[in-house]
């Protein structure tokens, strides 16, 4: 049976080539998820024996004011960082696509935050937000606005400052994705619209926005996922404070896992985060098939 032999050899070659990747994915992606689900069923804070408590950790979390606050914070952060970052990204992309000069310069200025470490950039932001001699308060003073704000250390402003850093960091990246989406729109559509006397706004609403919807949809997903991951600036700027007003899920996992050494709660919170990301991705794929305009 020479043919079968050859088939088996070609099959095993396929498996052999994906084996290294597969092995690492197993050990560092799939197994950790199963493991945190498993560990989330035990009560093991600090050192000591673990005790099976079923969904005890989850009920403990859901009845704790802190966890609920963390979830609320994260939702607030997700919504109010995503919307301005995407809106600005789209606006920048549309404006840069009007054939203006200096495109390279603008693209550089808007995209560079993506390639520098956000933990390092956050140091600069702490300086800019500093109460007594930060540039932000200085500008506000020049505009005759309240200018004695303790940005990173007082309750509503701490969240505002980490949102500003998110928007600063990601608007340029989303701009880039929108720019490439814009390039795939056929120019002749715009030419036809101009002949029919369409205004720039009409062109945007009738042509650009609908044809850009696959990109928009993808960027929205990416932005939401990012808002569940972007905690570097929280670590550097606010450490979740003041009074947990900037504490979000991933930071909560970090605190319980690595500061309090509460294995059970850290694992349960990891599972919650994983489920949230899974649901978002599921909505994304479902939405992609049902709502997105694919006419090209």
């Amino acid at each position: 049976m020479p043919i079968n032999n050859r088939k088996i050899r070609s099959y095993s070659l396929g498996y052999l080539l994906i084996l290294p990747s597969f092995l690492f994915l197993m050990v560092f992606t799939y197994y950790p998820i199963v493991r945190s689900m498993w560990l989330s069923l035990f009560n093991r804070a600090g050192v000591g024996l673990s005790k099976f408590i079923g969904v005890g950790n989850y009920t403990k979390m859901l009845t704790s004011e802190l966890f609920l606050q963390v979830v609320r914070n994260n939702l607030f952060y997700a919504v109010f960082s995503t919307i301005p970052a995407i809106a600005l990204g789209l606006l920048f992309a549309v404006l840069l696509n009007t054939g203006i000069k200096g495109r390279g310069f603008f693209r550089f200025s808007m995209f560079y935050p993506t390639i520098i470490p956000i933990s390092a950039a956050s140091m600069v932001w702490v300086f800019l937000f500093s109460q007594s001699f930060g540039l932000v308060n200085r500008f506000l003073g020049m505009l005759h606005l309240p200018s004695n704000i303790d940005w990173v250390n007082s309750a509503p402003y701490a969240m505002v400052s980490i949102i500003i850093v998110y928007v600063w960091k990601y608007a340029g990246y989303y701009m880039l994705l929108f720019l490439s989406g814009l390039q795939s729109i056929d120019d002749s559509l715009y030419e036809a619209a101009i002949i029919e006397g369409a205004s720039p706004w009409q062109k945007f609403i009738r042509i650009t926005f609908p044809l850009l919807s696959p990109t928009t949809f993808f960027v929205v997903l990416l932005a939401i996922i990012n808002s569940f991951q972007a905690v570097d600036q929280i670590y550097v700027m606010t450490t979740g404070g003041p009074y947990n007003s900037t504490n979000v899920l991933l930071y909560y996992i970090y605190q319980h896992g690595f500061v309090y050494w509460d294995v059970g709660i850290a694992s349960s919170a990891s599972t919650v985060l994983f489920v949230i990301l899974l649901v978002i991705t599921f909505i994304y794929y479902y939405g992609l098939q049902h709502f997105v305009n694919y006419e090209r």
């Binding site: 690492f24 992606t29 995209f111 956000i118 933990s119 390092a120 950039a121 880039l176 978002i280």
Partner: protein
């Protein structure tokens, strides 16, 4: 009349873009000028946009207070070794998914893709336990381990492998190439640009990464630049050491900033392709 309004629209667009660009550039400008100001100057006039003269003492001091040379070596070793390993695992996997037929291939590929949404962040805690059990805490290997396989890279390169015409593969086979030779001599030259794009993203990501190396590294032996910077900041805290801190920040961010300045298109293309395909 129409031309008149068009001109004004254009001017407004420029004004808006210049204002936006200036605001986004502000942290970078502020970082750069503060780093070059002396302590006395910073105290006397903190809001001057340009320093009176370029003063390098902040850099010298930052470097002497903290072992940034060690952090540099660690970061370079981690990003480059990791990149080499990723390029191997990713190329082999992508080749198999794109050009070989074997049972369960599509299911396995979907399993791979799920890694795109199971972000490393959501598994930091169990992964830390794993690295700790393997005895790799406070090592460079420990920082790299969870990233040896990359679904994003596999996906990116699979597309590239798929775009290569069969005739090229057949020609290689006629010349008597085995699979590895086929990948090395026939395919690699064809997928160079995708390999480059993936490399740019990988290096940028791991140079900038913060939370994971923060957890894994404990001493200067394995500490990366981003982590070293926050350790430095904690030591320098409690005073107007902003000049020092900004110099240290610039030390950390500079290599990628320079690379980005000179190879802007490379970065832009890489991040665009990763975004839309990954």
């Amino acid at each position: 009349m129409r031309i008149h309004t068009e001109k004004w629209t254009k001017i407004l667009i420029y004004l808006f873009l210049i204002l936006a660009a200036a605001l986004i550039l502000l942290p970078l400008m502020w970082l750069s000028t503060t780093a070059f100001k002396t302590k006395a100057e910073l105290f006397a006039n903190p809001y001057h946009l340009l320093p009176e003269k370029l003063d390098f003492s902040n850099f010298r001091d930052a470097w002497s207070y903290s072992p940034f040379d060690r952090y540099y070596i660690n970061t370079i070793v981690i990003t480059l070794v990791l990149l080499v390993i990723q390029l191997i695992t990713v190329t082999l996997g992508a080749y198999a998914f794109a050009r070989l037929v074997f049972p369960g291939r599509d299911i396995l590929f979907i399993m791979f893709l799920t890694q795109l949404m199971i972000t490393p962040q959501s598994t930091i805690f169990p992964n830390y336990l794993m690295v700790s059990q393997l005895g790799f805490l406070d090592t460079k290997i420990g920082v790299m381990l969870p990233y040896f396989a990359s679904a994003m890279g596999t996906f990116l390169l699979r597309q590239a492998f798929k775009a290569i015409p069969d005739s090229l593969e057949d020609a290689g086979k006629l010349d008597g190439c085995n699979t590895l030779q086929l990948i090395g001599h026939v395919f690699i030259p064809e997928i160079q640009s995708s390999l480059l794009a993936f490399s740019v993203i990988s290096v940028t990501y791991h140079w900038n990464e913060f939370l994971w190396p923060l957890l894994i590294t404990e001493t200067t032996k394995s500490r990366t630049l981003t982590v070293g910077l926050t350790v430095f900041a904690q030591q320098a805290e409690g005073g107007a050491e902003w000049g020092l801190l900004m110099a240290a920040t610039l030390i950390v961010a500079l290599p990628l900033l320079i690379a980005f300045t000179f190879f802007q298109n490379l970065f832009v293309n890489a991040f665009t392709s990763s975004g839309l395909k990954g």
